[in-house]
Amino acid sequence: MVFTNQESSSTKSASRDLRLPGIGASPGVAVGRALRLDESGRHQFYYVAISGGQVRREVRRLREAFAEARAQLQEIKDKLAHQLGSEHSYILDAHLMILEDDRFQTEIKQAVRRRKINAEWAVRSVTDRIIAAYKQVQDAYLRERSTDIEDIASRLLTILSGHTEFNLSELTENVIIIAEDIWPSTVAELNFNRVLGFATNSGGQTSHSAIIARALNIPAVVGIHNITQNVRTGDAVIIDGTLGEVIVKPTKPVIRDYLIKRETFVEERRPNKQATLPAETLDGVRITLRANVELPNEIESLSLFGAQGIGLYRSEFMFLNRLPDLPDEEEQVELYTRLSDATGEQGASIRVFDLGGDKLSLQGFEAEQNPALGLRGIRLSMRATAVFQTQLKAILRANRRGNLRVVLPLISTITELRLAKQFIANVKRELADSHIEHNPNLPIGVMIEVPAAAMMADIFAREANFLCIGTNDLIQYLLAVDRANENVAYLYQPLHPALLRTIAHLVRVAETVQVPLELCGEMAADPVQAIALIGLGIRALSLVPASIPLIKNAIRSIEEEQVRELMSKAMQLVSASEVEELLARELPLQAPRFFAALSAKG
């Protein structure tokens, strides 16, 4: 990708604090100058009529451009596999296959021969025609292939135009990337040390760009309708990935505010000497802080942030964006072995692929009337048994150290747990019968996300090896609220007494039956909510690795006995707002060092 028309600094217009709302894809604040990537106009090319004698030369240029493009893509693919894991490099496979399509090459060469035009024009006109044909297709998955073809066309045109592609790995200044979308191949080429953040027109929470931004810890906002129309290269821009907002041409006071906000954000999360200190309250109660992990390259940051193993490996990210192609058993064995090697004694809990609902909408699956209540989680696993079986085999084989655990998502009834356990037992028997090396000792955990499972927790506690509360879904189902629906999002209330009472119930059950209880979900990464959970008796939290230092600081500033009393009061209140008020009033008094400072910063 290259710069669009570079704006000279003299044409810079006045500051105006234009605020553009979007979806916060990766938290944090970035303040800097924009680098606008432009897809459609990123190459200039001309129509040139050629003579019969020049045909041969143009055809040779085409052949060389195809060979060069293939070499570049192969290199990018290797790099992407190295940075993000092989499950993300598949994107380039489609590109390579198209490049190797004989008919595609032949048509372009024929355009040169028959119409006597230059190679650039032939590439443009043939690919435009193919892209137009793909855009007509009903199937969303196939329609998406048109972006692959455009990516290839751009690459060929860049090579043909003689100068090397504007190289993002050679960025010399820190920039904020503004683009329609971040293309997979661009991501592989970016020098992330120079990228402060990015904002895109397209994309959602689970888009590839969003996942990558989170994994690399770069603030990002996606799904902003008109960001590319409003930003030019060189404009000052603020990205607020926490709020999901971009401020274009901010005024000085706003920049000042955000520089402070950025400092605070970075400071609170700075992995420091505290990484090795225990997460222990002032009165000596130890809390286990584990990491939620989505991408393999996050594994390396675990010790940096002081994570005690992985509390939730979201295995569906390996599947996501990849359908209909699925990672095979060997690839999964390799990845799970990495999880096992990286987490030592603390180990890793692998959640069985939890596809479904929104995540599947574009993958060519039949849409459901009500996906949140439909075929997802364990329900889907027990239907797509071959996929489930492959994943289980891979986990059992990778578990040589015996530190892996498996967690079953969206369990509603005890029958589901029993069937799943039976299924796992069968997979073990199959491996044993085929004399395949594996470790049959695999603890099985149940995600408590469905209110029915929470109420029946005592039954699950007797038949599962551990319980894991998933607050994101539990809140959604308990309050019957879709947080992505802006009309009802206000009902998404993590501190609602109904949820607090549910969690207190689960803590009691776990103590009575003596079964380990963990909690994962965004609540665990919010200091006030995390402390509330500890006051309810939760002793193990799993959260995004980058937030562990912040939560550890909060824990080290409180007395468990005091917050326990506070929470028993909170459970007698009637609404989430009353609980919020209570905590906002009391926590700064109890732990001024942390919470008074936190509320002063706003």
Binding site: M97, Y134, P324, D325, V387
Partner: protein, 96 residues
């Protein structure tokens, strides 16, 4: 020239992976391979991934495989077998 009719049985139809296998298979033969959708007569070059994908042939669609050339018979057999075997996808039931 050989002509065979075959119905797509795998759930996702001629998506990327299946189309790639079909193109690879067709590419092993010297003869010309044309894939046609029986319902709308849309046809594709069996050796071109871009062309085959564009058929957007879903599960249940009937395809007509036309081969012409010295090894036309072997090519037709191989392609029909591949489609009948659901492109060798290991998953036989469920959602995938």
């Amino acid at each position: 020239m050989q002509e065979r009719r075959v119905t797509i049985a795998n759930r996702l139809g001629l998506h990327a992976r299946a189309a790639a296998r079909l193109v690879q298979c067709a590419g092993q033969f010297n003869c010309q391979v044309v894939i046609e959708r029986a319902d709308n007569q849309q046809s594709a070059d069996g050796k071109s991934i871009l062309s085959v994908l564009l058929l957007a042939a879903a599960r249940g669609s009937t395809l007509i495989i036309k081969t012409a050339g010295a090894d036309e018979e072997r090519a037709a057999e191989a392609i029909v077998e591949l489609i009948d075997n659901r492109f060798g996808e290991e998953v036989s039931d469920g959602l995938y």
